[in-house]
């Protein structure tokens, strides 16, 4: 029995060895990178930019996927803290849980940076965030001007619709605010030009967005102005509009003025094809660079609780500007690399 137990021990130990692979050599700096998921092009590109750049610098990166569960993300970050990592980068699930996670890291004297999705309390941690309101306003401004031209011809009020993200996410709130800032401003200046916007909840989930958008368009077939709070929903919008004959490029009758935010490869392609009029672009490469540089600077300087907000102003890429600015848009870069063909 004892010999068999010993044999079993060795067999299982070897099996465990295969499972865990070869242990790599200890490197000088270890950074823990916890992300909530990689559901959209934006997060895939952000993940790639951060991990590849860090590894190119010889930094070891511990990756943790929380599968959209903030409690799991907290557990994972606590695990990183226990392992004594030098720094932490997180893409949190929402602004509330981010506050708890940043506090956990700072209590353990480990510098932490929050990438793109800021905590509700921005006083703690390195927070790199796009100016969602500004980027949205720039995109919706372009769309509103096009809508105004249409209204002046038809004198029919434009019916706007916004696909709203999960509102516990400050990015979603900023984008919604930016949209309403522009629509309200135009409604005041041009009474009767815009009907009351329809809000469609998406929870940042394509299936939820599809169901709710189907219902909204069925109830309001006259919608002629759609803004999505994230570009990843353009395929969803297309699947709703196309069967109804509403998926029409600009310049043709029945074109729905359309815009979004993120600047992904799909949006780049659709702007070139004329289906989408504008998108607010988050400068992903700039944000990744800001995050890594500031965190590494804090590690080198021995700063354990660096607190700073680093802002990406963002910009709008429109049908009019795509020829000149496509190299600035991360989605166009991916598109040119054949991302959509993969």
């Amino acid at each position: 029995m004892k010999r068999r137990a010993a044999g079993l021990l060795v067999t299982l130990a070897l099996a465990s060895g295969l499972m865990f692979g070869i242990v790599r050599a200890q490197e000088s700096i270890t950074i823990c990178f916890g992300f909530q998921d990689l559901e959209t092009e934006f997060w895939v590109a952000g993940h790639k930019a951060i991990t590849e750049t860090l590894r190119e610098q010889g930094i070891e990166v511990l990756e943790y996927n929380a599968n959209e569960d903030p409690n799991r993300q907290l557990e994972q970050i606590n695990e990183c803290i226990a392992q004594g990592v030098d720094g932490i980068i997180i893409i949190p699930q929402d602004g509330d849980s981010a506050v708890t996670i940043v506090n956990a890291a700072q209590s353990a004297d480990i510098p932490i940076a929050v990438f793109n999705r800021p905590p509700n309390d921005r006083s703690a941690g390195i927070i790199v965030v796009a100016d969602n309101v500004s980027a949205t306003e720039q995109a919706v401004e372009f769309m509103a001007q096009k809508a105004l031209v249409k209204w002046e011809v038809t004198q029919e009020p434009i019916q706007p619709l916004i696909l709203v993200g999960a509102l516990q996410d400050t990015n979603a709130i900023g984008r919604r605010d930016g949209f309403f800032n522009v629509i309200n401003r135009y409604s005041e200046r041009f009474p009767g030009a815009f009907a009351t916007p329809i809000e469609v909840a998406t929870e940042w989930d394509a299936a939820t967005a599809l169901a709710n958008l189907e219902a909204a368009i069925t109830a309001n077939p006259g919608v002629d102005f759609i803004f999505t709070s994230s570009d990843f929903l353009f395929p969803t919008i297309r699947s709703v509009l196309e069967p109804r004959g509403m998926w029409v490029p600009a310049g043709q009758p029945g074109h729905v003025i359309m815009g979004g935010l993120d600047g992904d490869a799909t949006a780049c392609s659709l702007i070139e094809q004329g289906f989408v009029d504008a998108t607010g672009v988050q400068d992903l490469f700039l944000e990744a660079e800001l995050t890594m540089n500031r965190l590494l600077q804090a590690i080198e300087a021995g700063e354990t609780q660096p607190n700073e907000v680093l802002l990406d102003p963002g910009f709008a890429l429109t049908a009019a500007s795509i020829q000149f600015e496509r190299s600035r848009m991360w989605g166009c870069v991916l598109f040119d690399e054949g991302f959509l063909d993969q």
Binding site: N78, A82, D109, L167
Partner: protein
């Protein structure tokens, strides 16, 4: 009443070619060893210890002298265990009677939201003015008991527990009175209460929970410092919770579950129902009442888990528990609770949760890609389900022999 009635249900149709299950194998010492190991109540514990020791021997970096052996890591893993254990205890009860409770995740979500709506001390009007309960239950000054802060935490916790047990009652009632399959009933309640939690909050987290409540998720009762005293002041990160509130709450619940299961007629009735419901009923077991009580206990356990998770994260979260069902059922099944009913134990679930948490910890410490980790996790749960079938078949054959 007989609780040792052999199962009248046919053995699970799997593993027919497995040597373990071959008739006549009992006489062969090698197979007898494997059989004893597989059927042992401590199989998962052996596996857990083995996994830990083998990793420690082969990979010093993640072993006892490395990451896994760090006191902070061990302390973390225990803290990760308690909320999962709490909810898995309820699922164990349900599985023992041959049912399944898919609504536990949504019970966690709705109880998290309701507790926060009672206890919250401050709310941002811009975030919640679209909530259907804004202006009545929720205001800028906080939740329902904003005027009685001393009562907010006890009554908030009580509300969470009552709502959890109440949803369990609905599940049990529908299953026993309308004869609807547990899978379908709990799937419906899962969908309904998840949506209800999102509707109440308009999918926003409720923050501003009182400190007294947060302590339930993170507070230490006894803390320790392991190491030399080199400086006058010990850093907070070096102080570890030896006994924390979640430890006491989860182990207290486990003790209650153990007593119910092993030392009461109710526990024996559960096994009888899980083994053969009709036979149990003929023997005089009040099956409907037992089933309703078991689902109530499951909802209660989910609410306890919700308290621990909500307090730890500091928010009432309408999406709490959304992705947890696989972990809950996986931990119970790994612990030896049978998906076919009639078998399970509290210590098995405790070992199952420990194994699950340790496995994830080791995979993370081994610095594997998160995508591989998820695949391994799924594979382990599948293996546990496979072993469940093997054990059921083996037991059945031995009984027939």
């Amino acid at each position: 009443m007989s609780v040792t009635t052999p199962s009248s249900s046919p053995p699970p149709p799997a593993l027919s070619g497995l040597a373990l299950a071959q008739p006549g194998a009992a006489g062969r010492p090698r197979l007898a060893f494997w059989r004893r190991l597989l059927l042992s109540d401590y199989f998962v514990l052996y596996l857990t210890v083995f996994l830990f020791v083998s990793a420690a021997i082969i990979f010093p970096r993640i072993g006892l002298a490395g990451t896994l052996g760090l006191p902070t890591n061990i302390s973390n893993q225990f803290l990760n265990m308690w909320p999962l254990l709490a909810v898995a205890l309820g699922q164990t009860f349900v599985l023992i009677i041959g049912g399944i409770d898919l609504s536990q995740g949504s019970v966690m979500a709705i109880t998290s939201v309701i507790g926060a709506m009672v206890m919250s001390t401050t709310l941002d009007p811009a975030m919640f003015d679209k909530s259907p309960v804004w202006g009545s239950i929720l205001t800028a000054e906080g939740g329902l008991l904003r005027a009685s802060p001393e009562l907010a935490v006890p009554l908030g916790v009580l509300a969470m527990l009552l709502v959890g047990a109440g949803i369990g009652f609905l599940n049990g009632f529908a299953i026993t009175k309308f004869r609807i399959a547990p899978f379908m009933v709990t799937l419906v309640t899962m969908t309904f209460f998840s949506a209800f939690a999102l509707w109440l909050t308009q999918s926003r987290n409720i923050s501003g929970l009182p400190e007294e409540f947060l302590r339930l998720g993170t507070g230490d009762i006894i803390s320790v410092y392991l190491g030399p005293k080199l400086e006058a002041q010990i850093a907070r990160r070096d102080i570890l919770p030896a006994i924390a509130y979640p430890t006491v709450i989860a182990l207290g619940l486990a003790l209650l579950a153990q007593v119910l299961l092993k030392n009461t007629v109710f526990g024996r009735q559960m096994f009888a129902i899980g083994t053969n419901r009709r036979a149990a009923q003929i023997s005089g077991v009040p099956a409907d009442r037992v089933v309703i009580l078991v689902y109530m206990f499951s909802g209660f356990c989910a609410a306890v888990s919700s308290i621990l998770y909500s307090a730890r994260l500091g928010i009432g979260q309408p999406s709490l528990g959304n992705n947890l069902m696989l972990d809950i059922i996986g931990a119970a099944v790994i612990g030896g609770t049978s998906l076919f009913g009639g078998k399970g134990s509290i210590k098995g679930t405790l070992f199952g949760v420990a194994f699950f948490v340790l496995l994830l910890n080791m995979l993370n410490a081994a610095r594997l890609s998160p995508f591989i980790i998820d695949a391994v996790k799924g594979g382990v749960i599948l293996l546990a389900a496979f072993l469940d079938v093997a054990r059921a078949r083996l037991t059945s054959r031995e009984q027939h022999a």
